[in-house]
């Protein structure tokens, strides 16, 4: 009986998370266009619905009804599965992420996390890295040189930033002594001064940069930068398969925002009178906004510069950070 209850609960949570995050990802595309437009003194989408709000629905209809083209020389099964990998991994990564403090509904305590595993951070980062198979397979199976270039860039990019991500979170983990995101969150109870960002500022900056690389956002959007590689790995995609890549990207963005908020910015702990859930929403919104903001403001860098900065600057800094943390802990 107990087993069934857990199963049902997990299923319901999973469905809710996927639905809500997919919805938020869709909405994020709208917000992105609006924010970018405002920052460039434009209006953005205005014609569908009030202030262009229904643009979202229009885009959805377009994506769903567009013809799904598979190019002639593409490796068909791989070409078709690649976007699914990208989207699935983005959502699977969310299984171990707590979003809100636990609350009671109808006398039933709900933990807003699908599965509280003790290696949550490792799991999330691992699954997110598996997500690179989406662009890689898509690029290699498309029979298109732009796609291939995009895939190659995706791989060099991942090889570069993955080291920085791992090493940068190592220092906070050493202090906390746990990989569970709930433990990490609980470590920072007690107001802004207890946030890890003050104790580990360098790790915070490194992790944030790696987050930008992981989500392929400007200034590290080398793998689908239009001016250089058309649309990178997604050049040959159309319709809903392209949409899956897109949703995956935005879902990744939300995951990274949640991760940074939990790891460095006090997670879902309440602050003064603001309840934890609201704090979390505020932080995640801020991070999503930051992603868009940075895209509007900063130029993007070349792939070689990206590797250079990862291997020659960020990685040594991360190692130094770990060493210092280690000495301080001892």
């Amino acid at each position: 009986m107990f087993e069934t209850a857990v199963l049902v609960e997990t299923l319901v949570k999973a469905v809710i998370v996927v639905a809500v995050v997919a919805g938020m990802a869709g909405f994020a595309t709208f917000i992105e266009r609006k924010v970018l437009a405002f920052m460039q003194r434009r209006l953005g989408p205005m014609n569908v619905g009030p202030y262009g709000l229904l643009q979202l629905a229009a885009d959805g209809i377009k994506l769903f009804t567009k013809e799904d083209i598979v190019p002639q020389n593409a490796v068909k099964p791989i070409f078709m599965i690649a976007p699914v990998i990208a989207a699935t991994t983005a959502f699977v990564a969310m299984a171990a992420v707590p979003y809100f403090p636990e609350f009671t509904l109808f006398g039933y305590v709900i933990h807003p996390i699908i599965s509280d595993i003790n290696v949550a951070l490792l799991y999330v980062m691992g699954v997110a890295s598996v997500g690179i198979y989406g662009p890689l397979l898509a690029g290699m199976s498309s029979a298109n040189k732009w796609s291939l270039l995009g895939a190659a860039r995706a791989v060099i990019q991942m090889l570069s930033f993955e080291v920085v991500t791992g090493l940068s979170v190592l220092a906070p983990i050493m202090m906390i002594g746990s990989l569970s995101l709930i433990d990490i969150n609980d470590y920072q109870v007690g107001g802004i001064t207890h946030w890890l960002i003050w104790k580990q500022p360098l790790a915070f900056i490194l992790f944030a940069m790696a987050g930008f690389m992981e989500t392929n956002r400007a200034p590290f959007d080398t793998i689908e930068f239009e001016a250089e590689v058309v649309a990178g790995y997604a050049t040959e995609y159309s319709g809903m398969r392209w949409g899956l890549f897109f949703i995956g990207e935005y879902a990744n963005m939300i995951t990274i925002s949640v991760l940074v908020s939990i790891l460095f910015m006090g997670g879902y702990n309440s602050l003064w009178f603001i309840p934890g859930a609201v704090m979390m929403l505020i932080k995640v919104s801020f991070w999503v906004f930051l992603f868009l903001w940075v895209r509007a403001a900063w130029p993007h860098i070349r792939p070689d510069q990206l590797m250079w900065v990862c291997w020659k600057v960020l990685m040594p800094l991360a190692v130094v950070n770990i060493l210092i943390t280690g000495f301080v802990l001892i």
């Binding site: 920052m39 003194r41 434009r42 205005m46 903001w293 403001a297």
Partner: protein, 204 residues
């Protein structure tokens, strides 16, 4: 004048030349450059500028089909043939100057002598596939008969649209409704034309 000055004679005196940053020569200089650029905060200036524009909300979008751009009178779009304000008859006297001056050779006209022994223009057309909207025709016209309009929405199904005499001539009912405005743009007299005119010296 030196060669450099000669080559740059189109540049006003206040122009500031920027030779570019000196490339670092040694590894130490390169390192200094990296550190300086990293800690300078230029990136945050960039962030602030776009954020400032967002909160200022000084939007420059024109929502096109609903709002249209106000064109300057000197804008040179599809031509118009005007009528005389006094009589309502066509201003064009069929002098043929516009046909002659048109560098794309795209104006064609046909004239005849009517029963009152006056020269009238029977046909007048501009091939807008070839017109380059240089404005010479409007400028050369002694009667200010052919002028440039400001309508820029020229999509059409036929090449010949817009370019026939009937398309360009102010329709009579528009004219009667007093809606033909004097043309202030290309080739028209300026507001202070009277002051600029010198009296013809009749003394000699």
């Amino acid at each position: 004048m030196e060669l450099k000055d000669f080559k740059q004679r189109n540049i006003s005196p206040g122009y500031i030349f920027f030779e570019g940053e000196k490339a670092p020569e040694t590894g130490w200089q390169a390192f200094q450059k990296v550190v300086k650029r990293t800690l300078k905060g230029e990136l945050f200036v960039g962030l602030w500028i776009v954020f400032r524009e967002m909160i200022r909300f000084d939007i420059h979008t024109i929502q096109y089909p609903a709002q249209k751009m106000e064109m300057s009178p000197r804008y040179r779009a599809i031509h118009r043939l005007l009528r005389l304000f006094e009589s309502g008859s066509e201003r064009c006297i069929g002098c043929g100057l516009c046909e002659k001056i048109c560098i794309s050779n795209c104006i064609r006209m046909d004239t005849h002598i009517d029963e009152k022994s006056r020269k009238v223009v029977s046909e007048y057309s501009i091939n807008f596939g070839r017109c380059i909207f240089c404005g010479y025709c409007a400028e050369v016209c002694p009667e200010l008969a052919i002028v440039h309009g400001v309508e820029y929405e020229n999509a059409s199904e036929q090449r010949a649209h817009f370019g026939l005499k009937a398309d360009m001539l102010t329709p009579l009912d528009t004219f009667r409704a007093n809606e033909q405005k004097e043309f202030p743009g290309f080739g028209a007299l300026s507001d202070n034309a009277d002051e600029a005119v010198k009296q013809t010296p009749l003394a000699y």
